[in-house]
């Protein structure tokens, strides 16, 4: 008895506190409900509409106000009792990856093969689902669109995620790649030169395959040119300078009319060929050589596989580089620049290689963009593009390849699918005047906020060590600084 008394006393306060939490929550809910009602009375309660004669008629909607206030009250009460309850035991910070991450780790060996086999099968699946080649056009096109951003995300991931250099002007390298291909492929002297030496149609047929590496190299060169002056900068300052660089490139493209045709852009870029074999209905075209019936979708599907190959190349090169000294040096540079220098790492060179490698993949993606759309103009390379690519990298979890791919699919694919939510236009929902695509940016913003609240280090936040003694063990992102995870 004596011994149990203090124990009873120690357990007593929480028992007392529990009802007080409920009453507190009730009080809070009533106050919030009243405030909502007060706030909404002028905003929602009165509605001035035009009557037939032109004069304004005031209608009262206090019922609606009451409904809103009720929703707020109930919601607030439930939150106060559950999630915000002061008596709830504090959440523990987990040292090991959480439940989601553990499921992820279990599925991890399967994720990549499944992802890649789905990516390979995607065009065929969409043909099956859409029931025929031509109806699948939209889906294959969407796949190409998403994969372009997956590739751009992976490219920027090298600069931002691995080397930790915040680059807000990545679109500049995309533009350099696109314009390199556009200018070279439409150049009359080059065409004439090859017509004289290798035959008439040579340049049109091979332009993309010759210009693709050139676009990458030129973009990498621009990466180095940008890298040199900004090497001394870090963080915010670097971000501003790269932002400016992106804008400078765009303004040069607009104003150097004699070279780039200004805002009108460059059109009639030759289409992609199957390694020299054009996708047309002629006898030497792709369809007749392979004994198929001509369909313009062949080119689309080939484009899909080209971007899939380019994206895979980006991923493989990144994975390989991460295991090599230069990749490890990038990661070390992101962690601590001074420590890197004290270990004899040439930080200048390391930063330049990161910039150049990232830029090179941006250039590849740019050349692909130009050959897909067959038209380039400065309109396509605005800051918004850089922001979306950066958002993909940050959302995905900096440095994580699968995270970046997932974020690209979610953001780009999701935003695109939103255009098609025609069922929302049904009469019982929002009516035929409702245009869901108008809300795309709003939903995009909400999604970003939600991810940053619940997963501040991105969708995939744990980092796989590149070297290990016995077994590979991912470490939870909660253990490291934000923005480093």
């Amino acid at each position: 008895m004596m011994a149990s008394d203090p124990a009873a006393e120690t357990t007593a306060p929480p028992a007392d506190a529990r009802p007080s939490a409920v009453t507190g929550a009730l009080k809070d809910a009533i106050v919030s409900g009243l405030l909502t009602a007060l706030l909404l009375t002028p905003l929602v309660g009165f509605r001035a509409s035009e009557s037939g004669t032109g004069s304004l008629v005031l209608t009262y909607r206090f019922g609606l106000v009451a409904i809103f206030a009720g929703i707020v009250m109930v919601g607030r009460f439930l939150l106060m009792v559950t999630v915000w309850n002061p008596n709830r035991p504090p959440r523990r910070v987990s040292t090991t990856p959480g439940a989601m991450a553990r499921i992820g780790a279990l599925a991890a060996p399967a994720v990549k093969p499944v992802f890649f086999s789905f990516a390979i099968l995607y065009p065929f699946l969409s043909i099956l689902m859409a029931g025929g080649l031509s109806p699948s056009r939209y889906w294959v096109d969407l796949g190409i669109y998403v994969l372009t951003y997956v590739m751009l995300g992976w490219g920027l991931n090298i600069v931002v995620g691995l080397a930790g250099l915040l680059d807000l002007g990545y679109v500049a390298f995309y533009a350099v790649g696109a314009y390199t291909f556009a200018l070279l492929s439409t150049s009359v002297p080059i065409n004439d030169f090859f017509a004289g030496t290798l035959g008439d149609g040579f340049w049109t047929a091979w332009a993309f395959w010759i210009c693709l590496p050139l676009s990458g190299i030129l973009a990498a060169m621009w990466g180095v040119i940008l890298g040199f002056p900004v090497l001394r900068l870090r963080g915010d300052y670097l971000a501003i300078v790269t932002l400016a660089f992106g804008e400078i490139i765009r303004l040069v493209l607009i104003n150097w009319v004699s070279l780039t045709n200004g805002g009108a852009g460059i059109s009639s870029i030759p289409p992609i060929t199957f390694f020299g074999v054009p996708f047309d209905s002629s006898d030497t075209g792709f369809a007749s050589i392979f004994g198929l019936e001509f369909n313009s979708m062949h080119r689309m599907i080939f484009l899909y596989f080209v971007i899939l190959g380019l994206a895979a190349l980006t991923a493989i090169v990144t994975i390989r580089l991460r295991k090599m000294p230069v990749g490890r040096a990038w990661e070390a540079l992101r962690e601590d620049e001074i420590a890197c220098r004290s270990l004899g790492i040439n930080t200048t060179l390391t930063k330049l290689t990161a910039f150049a490698t990232g830029a090179m993949f941006g250039g590849f993606a740019g050349a692909f963009f130009a050959v897909r759309i067959r038209f380039v103009s400065p309109e396509s390379f605005t800051f918004m593009e850089s922001a979306v690519i950066l958002a993909i990298v940050v959302l995905g979890g900096m440095g994580s390849q699968m995270g970046v791919a997932g974020a690209a699919i979610l953001l780009i694919g999701g935003m695109e699918l939103l255009r098609n939510l025609s069922f929302l236009k049904a009469d019982f929902l929002f009516g035929p005047d409702f245009d869901p695509s108008l809300y795309r940016m709003l939903i995009f913003g909400f999604a970003m906020v939600a991810v940053m609240v619940w997963r501040p280090r991105g969708l995939v936040s744990s980092r796989m060590p590149t070297v290990f003694l016995k077994q590979r063990k991912a470490v939870s992102g909660s253990l490291v600084k934000e923005g480093h995870g």
């Binding site: 040292t95 000294p325 490890r328 040096a329 990661e331 070390a332 962690e335 601590d336 001074i338 420590a339 890197c340 220098r341 004290s342 270990l343 004899g344 790492i345 040439n346 930080t347 980092r463 060590p465 590149t466 070297v467 290990f468 003694l469 016995k470 077994q471 063990k473 470490v475 253990l479 490291v480 600084k481 480093h484 995870g485």
Partner: protein, 257 residues
């Protein structure tokens, strides 16, 4: 001992000297913008010695160490290492001359595992004797072996300091520059770390230049010491000599304890 060093200093310009110091800093000044941090510092570190530099906060100890590494650069004076002038070499090239530094505040890579941190230390070496050196570090700091797959940022302060020293040692340096290894550590851990430094010096003949606040431990460990005040070296002598000096005791031992 000190007389010998004096004659060596006098003979230093002549290449015929019996044994030139491994590192010699002469008349070095350094600035942060317009603010002078070092006002002409002369220091010598001989091969096989542990030399410590003590002084109050803001005396310029860490600045001197960073100046040896080339950041900030010395404005006047010369820094000669193993017979080669390194005053104006880029930092990463200085570090490739078998000088290793464990910087102030440890500066390990928090997201990388202990293993990866150690591998970064061997980056210059090209991992030629990585496995062998790894074993050496494990015998020196057995704690690191237990933590090998943990992220650097999850280690305790003492373990991080061990990791920082081990990382520096992975490049097989001739000269180890240690900046405040006792910073923020419990006395017992400080002893462990100082014991490790002593052992490295005795068994492997490693030359150590140690910057410390913890004057008592540092002077007991070191063969020779320098006292720095406001960017100038004001006193020098053997560790025992300096420990016995009343000025040192007043300023850095009784006062600071």
């Amino acid at each position: 001992m000190s007389a010998q060093t004096a004659t060596e200093t006098a003979a230093a310009p002549a290449p015929a000297a019996r044994k030139a110091p491994l590192l010699s800093v002469s008349g070095v000044t350094a600035y942060y913008g317009n603010i002078i941090a070092l006002k002409g510092v002369d220091i010598e570190v001989n091969e096989g010695e542990i030399v410590t530099l003590i002084g109050a906060n803001g005396a310029g100890k860490s600045t001197l160490m960073m100046t040896i590494c080339g950041s900030p650069r010395a404005r006047d004076g010369r820094i000669v290492y193993a017979g080669r002038e390194i005053t104006s070499l880029p930092t990463h090239e200085i570090m490739r001359l078998k000088i290793a530094q464990s910087p102030e505040g440890r500066r390990i890579f928090p997201r990388m595992t202990v293993y990866e941190n150690l591998q970064m230390g061997a980056a210059i070496d090209g991992n030629a004797h990585f496995a062998e050196d790894l074993e050496r570090m494990f015998t020196l700091f057995p704690r690191l072996k237990e933590r090998i797959e943990q992220r650097g940022g999850t280690l305790s302060g003492g373990e991080q300091q061990m990791l920082a020293i081990a990382r520096a040692l992975m490049s097989r340096p001739r000269l180890l520059l240690l900046d405040e290894p006792s910073l923020g550590l419990a006395p017992l851990v400080v002893r462990q770390i100082f014991d490790a430094i002593r052992m490295l010096n005795r068994t492997e003949g490693l030359t150590v230049f140690l910057v410390e606040q913890n004057a008592f431990h540092a002077l007991k460990l070191a063969h020779r010491g320098y006292v720095m005040v406001n960017g100038l070296v004001t006193m020098s002598g053997t560790g025992a000599e300096l420990l016995a000096r009343p000025e040192v005791r007043a300023a850095y031992l009784e006062g600071g304890r």
